[in-house]
Symmetry: C2
Subunit: 342 residues, 2 copies
């Protein structure tokens, strides 16, 4: 006696079986046509395509991925989507992977390592074909999780760090160092730093480290420092920092900002307050954002191409998925942009 089939809730949509029935072919033939895999006669292909159109079939990648032990999803983790930076990375990643049919599942950590750990766990459960993580450093647990999962991993990170997977990026320490060297060469001697809560942004503090190293090598010290709390908007933070520094340390002749948005805000303050830039006060930032270069005096800064960085990360991910090897560390470098503010 046949056991009665248990009723299950169906997703509701049409399935391969429906298409197969409609076209008078087997399911696997439909599957092959859809995935464009294996040899199919033109006649079969046409029959299947007609049937698909007729029943309005939408493939179920959940089922497909389960059956083939691997999804077309790529997990992407960035520190923040608020900043003016990482969405360019994300766009680069998407442009690189979407033509190959991959989709990005995106999460942001707000620079918190515990959140990153949670996200990694959550994204791994989707059995992604690869993961791309933009992060300065991981928790021990996260690193372990990533290694244990054996997921194809590309890290967008500081190249001074030891990566778990393939790393792409550049050395923030060097970027800061180059700026410091430039300041020293230009003859600035009473130098200040303006940043925004560096505990969260390890990249920025690395740049600051490098900056100080370069100054020290030239026998110069940072004479003043202004850290603006994070809740402030970046450009206002820059204004505030310049105002504060000029009041508390009026003899300074140059300021290094943790990033361009602050530097631009600082530049605006100088315009308003009638402070001559760079004669009275020199300014430099980091990132090379477009607006900085559109200023009446283009901003002196360090340019990193974040879009290309994301694209490269995406390409590396595809290569890894393809079973190819990629360099353990790819340093994309940066360039010191000698503007007219320092």
């Amino acid at each position: 006696m046949r056991v009665k089939k248990k009723a299950r809730l169906r997703t509701g949509g049409t399935t391969l079986a429906d298409v197969a029935r409609e076209g008078g072919v087997s399911q696997i033939t439909v599957s092959r046509v859809i995935r464009n895999k294996g040899a199919i006669s033109d006649e079969m292909r046409e029959r299947v395509e007609r049937a698909i159109g007729k029943v309005g079939y939408v493939p179920n990648r959940l089922a497909g991925s389960l059956a083939s032990a691997g999804s077309d999803l790529i997990g992407v983790i960035v520190p923040s989507l608020r900043s003016i930076i990482f969405h360019h990375v994300l766009q680069g990643v998407n442009d690189a992977i979407s033509a190959a049919g991959y989709r990005s599942v995106v999460g942001s950590t707000d620079f918190r390592e515990e959140e990153e750990d949670r996200l990694v766990t959550s994204l791994l459960s989707w059995r992604p074909a690869a993961m791309i993580i933009a992060s300065f450093d991981h928790m021990e647990a996260t690193a372990h999780r990533l290694r244990a999962s054996k997921v194809k991993l590309v890290e967008i990170t500081d190249t001074d760090r030891a990566p778990i997977g393939a790393a792409v990026g550049f050395s923030h320490r060097k970027a800061g160092y180059e700026t410091g060297k430039y300041f020293a060469k230009r003859g600035y001697r009473r130098i200040a730093y303006a940043g925004q809560d560096n505990r969260k942004d390890a990249y920025a503090s690395r740049r600051y480290d490098g900056f100080r190293d370069a100054l020290n090598a030239a026998g110069i010290a940072v004479v003043a420092e202004c850290m603006v709390p994070v809740p402030h908007d970046s450009s206002f933070a820059g204004k505030l920092a310049v105002e504060t520094l000029l009041r508390d340390a009026p003899t300074i002749d140059a300021i290094y900002f943790s990033h361009d948005e602050m530097a631009i805000g600082g530049y605006f303050h100088c315009l308003e307050a009638g402070v001559a830039v760079p004669e009275r006060l020199a300014l430099a930032g980091f990132n090379g954002i477009d607006l900085g270069q559109a200023l009446p005096k283009p901003l002196t800064t360090v340019l990193s191409d974040r879009y290309e960085l994301g694209k490269l990360a995406g390409q590396h991910a595809l290569a890894l998925i393809d079973g190819k090897k990629v360099a353990p560390v790819t340093d994309v470098g940066f360039s010191l942009v000698k503007g007219r503010t320092a």
Copy 2:
């Protein structure tokens, strides 16, 4: 005689069965503990949790979603991640949905409707719990696909349009109209417009429509127009536009820009060229980006809170998933920011 089992490639990781074996319980018990669903005795729970830790189990959401006919993914489609706008929306969406365990699968269309159609198809195949689409208008085919799929849909869009799902947004036409009305009231009479390839950005052209309507109502016409090709960076485009307009139509007294980045670039040109703002030339933009408000003279603009918009869209998506009703159209409005540039 028993048929030999066919070998299948396994994902490699540990499965529920492994945990169950380790803990000496059934798979379903493990499943219940993980999903925190159904009544479980404390003893069982503890046993299972120990076993999970021991074998290092990572759930497979692909299998879980397939079995339960629905994923925890939310498809998100935005026009672009390059612009300074939509990543705020995305962050808002993520902040709203991630606490509830949902993840966003993200795609960008570069303002192309065919790309949107492709993305919708692709994302639907992941059987998302909901979709959030930021788009001015859809292709007929896309609209059909979305309706047929019965996916929970939230559109972030212009509220003048008839939406397919639940819409959140505001009227770009009205935003332009308010700016035009303000220009008329301030007494500007020789007014120009500066934009960037509006064929792609339907929102911008809607604002321009509204702007002209307001001027017409006051008996004023736009006397000059400068459209800068898209490849140009926005702030340089603004510089270029002002330069061009002042040369070709030197009698203009005000310019309406399609967005703040252009307006800021235009403002910079005025600073460099010694054009008094707003006495000689008034400027206004759209978006209310932070940098515009940090300018020596805060930019006159229309502010829309894109982060809150994204968050609201995410909350609506969660409500729909929950089976609740949401308003067909939620107008979040905007606010005219009377700066010092117009």
